[in-house]
């Protein structure tokens, strides 16, 4: 996380070797991204999804889009069909194999780009603001898919501006001016309202309300990020007196 221009995307591009460091090294499972002989191996391990799906989708149908990466990996076509079905299921686009890609909505396109990366079975997936162009429904779907991936053992590196989304992670890294300014457990980091304010992040309204109440001297926890938990916290306060 971090403001526009702080180097998030630049860092992400170092992870799969699109960019190589000017100085220092990036190792993926012990493989240095600087060494040309490692390129193929690294690209296989790490999948990347960009912010704007339109800049990633190149073929004319959904099925071809997913097959593109597989063809490059020389997967036999019988297996390919099986994989395509499988990943389309994962991103809830089942039955849309023959749909032209230009007929998809923004959310569907974003899920297709995730599917075509998943088809290559990467060990780690890097997502650069995958939800910033989507409506709330599409956003929730994509986040759900990412969560499921993680449960199944894929590492996820997610770039986002949303505090809510980052709360689902185990570790959050905050960047500014090309440097890491802070990192750790998101619930710890984002329960400090002063920290959020000084770094110009959007405070979830739940935290904002609890913070305002706390300032008046009432005892409430700031770690309630969901609406329900925040309401419970206030109800608990009201019940104190009975």
């Amino acid at each position: 996380m971090g403001p526009n221009g702080c180097g998030k995307s630049t860092l992400a591009k170092h992870v799969n070797g699109i960019l190589v460091p000017t100085s220092g090294d990036v190792f993926i499972d012990g493989l240095n991204t600087k060494e040309e002989k490692n390129y193929f191996e690294i690209k296989k391990k790490i999948g990347m999804v960009f912010q704007n799906p339109d800049s990633q989708i190149i073929t004319s149908t959904v099925e071809e889009e997913i097959a593109f990466g597989l063809e490059n990996l020389q997967v036999p076509s019988i297996e390919m069909n099986y994989i395509i079905k499988n990943v389309l299921n994962l991103v809830e686009l089942n039955g849309m194999e023959k749909t032209p890609t230009h007929c998809l909505s923004g959310g569907q396109k974003q899920r297709l780009s995730i599917a075509s990366v998943l088809a290559m079975k990467p060990e780690m997936i890097v997502l650069d603001e995958p939800t910033s162009m989507l409506d709330p429904g599409g956003r929730k779907k994509v986040i759900k898919i990412i969560e499921n991936l993680h449960v199944k053992g894929t590492s996820v590196l997610l770039i986002t501006h949303s505090v809510e989304e980052s709360l689902k992670s185990q570790r959050v890294v905050i960047m500014d001016n090309g440097q890491i300014v802070s990192q750790g457990n998101p619930k710890e980091i984002f329960s400090s309202v002063d920290f959020i304010k000084s770094n110009n992040f959007n405070i979830p309204e739940s935290t904002d309300i609890l913070y305002r109440i706390k300032k008046h001297g009432y005892e409430v926890s700031l770690k309630a990020f969901e609406s329900k938990k925040c309401a419970d916290e206030i109800i608990k306060l009201l019940e104190n007196n009975i």
């Binding site: 162009m133 409506d135 009201l238 104190n240």
Partner: protein
């Protein structure tokens, strides 16, 4: 004033594969109103925007700008283009002039305004959007993402149109740039007293600045009302997979246990309301 009467739009209207994108839209906007359009992807938001600025012509129904029909024939297209302007989503992809100055001056030049007046306009709009004067000589290509966005918005502001349509003006910006840009758009609106139409997926933003909210679903006008009244229908909105501002959600949860005002949409008002109840109950600090 904008009046939309029984507006319908079908893509490929004359062929068999005709797709109906908008059905019977009706609304009236008085001068200097801000309207938000919400709806999921594919609900017809952008189609409506394109109809309003005359890029598409209605299959059925009429749109009036100050009692004059938009696109009656194509003779007055140019007039519409200057009266109703639009910034598309990710407008920074459309920057093409050599310098930021020329980029902003492009619209007014096409309008036939004299260079000296254009200079005044450019300096006026860069003040609204916080673009520094040294930046005017730069090529827009070398600006950062946030600066490019500001430049693109400034260039539509420079047209000084009666109606300004913005398609997700803050998508993809960080929170500071987001609130800065929103504030500058609001300031501009206050001065120009134009009609502002904002398409947004951010419900908190919509609740905060809009006077009216239009909810679209699959081309149908579901609601057209003030934000308070629209977001009261949270069940309808949640069915559409749209969010409501988080504060109003929290107030509703509290209301399940303790009666509280559920019309509240902003943290500051919520603070006052909760404090009032805490005080009346005499809860210890």
């Amino acid at each position: 004033m904008i009046r939309v009467e029984d507006l319908c739009y079908n893509y490929n209207a004359k062929s068999k594969s005709s797709i109906s994108a908008l059905k019977n839209i009706n609304f009236t906007l008085k001068n200097s109103t801000i309207m938000g359009i919400i709806g999921k992807t594919g609900s017809g938001k952008s189609t409506l925007a394109q109809l309003l600025c005359g890029l598409l012509s209605p299959t059925h129904g009429k749109i009036f700008l100050n009692e004059k029909e938009i696109i009656k024939d194509f003779k007055n297209t140019k007039e519409i283009c200057f009266n109703v302007t639009m910034a598309f989503q990710y407008p920074e992809n459309q920057l093409f002039e050599k310098t930021v100055y020329d980029e902003i001056a492009f619209g007014p030049r096409n309008k036939g305004i004299s260079e000296s007046k254009i200079k005044d306009i450019v300096f006026e709009v860069i003040k609204f959007t916080n673009i520094s004067e040294n930046m005017l000589k730069c090529s827009p290509i070398f600006l950062s993402g946030g600066e490019k966005r500001k430049c693109a918005i400034a260039s539509v502001m420079a047209l000084k149109s009666k109606v300004l349509i913005l398609d997700e003006p803050t998508a993809g910006l960080d929170c500071k740039s987001k609130s800065q840009l929103m504030n500058s758009i609001f300031e501009y609106h206050r001065k120009e007293k134009n009609i502002l139409i904002i398409i947004s997926h951010n419900m908190e933003e919509t609740a905060r600045i809009c006077d009216k909210v239009l909810v679209l679903d699959e081309g149908i006008q579901l609601m057209f009302d003030s934000p308070v009244k629209v977001f009261k229908n949270y069940q309808k909105l949640e069915k559409l997979n749209l969010d409501v501002p988080q504060t109003s959600q929290i107030m509703r949860y509290i209301n399940n246990e303790y009666p509280i005002n559920t019309d509240i949409m902003f943290p500051k008002e919520a603070e006052e309301e909760i404090l009032k109840i805490l005080n009346s109950k005499g809860v210890e600090r």
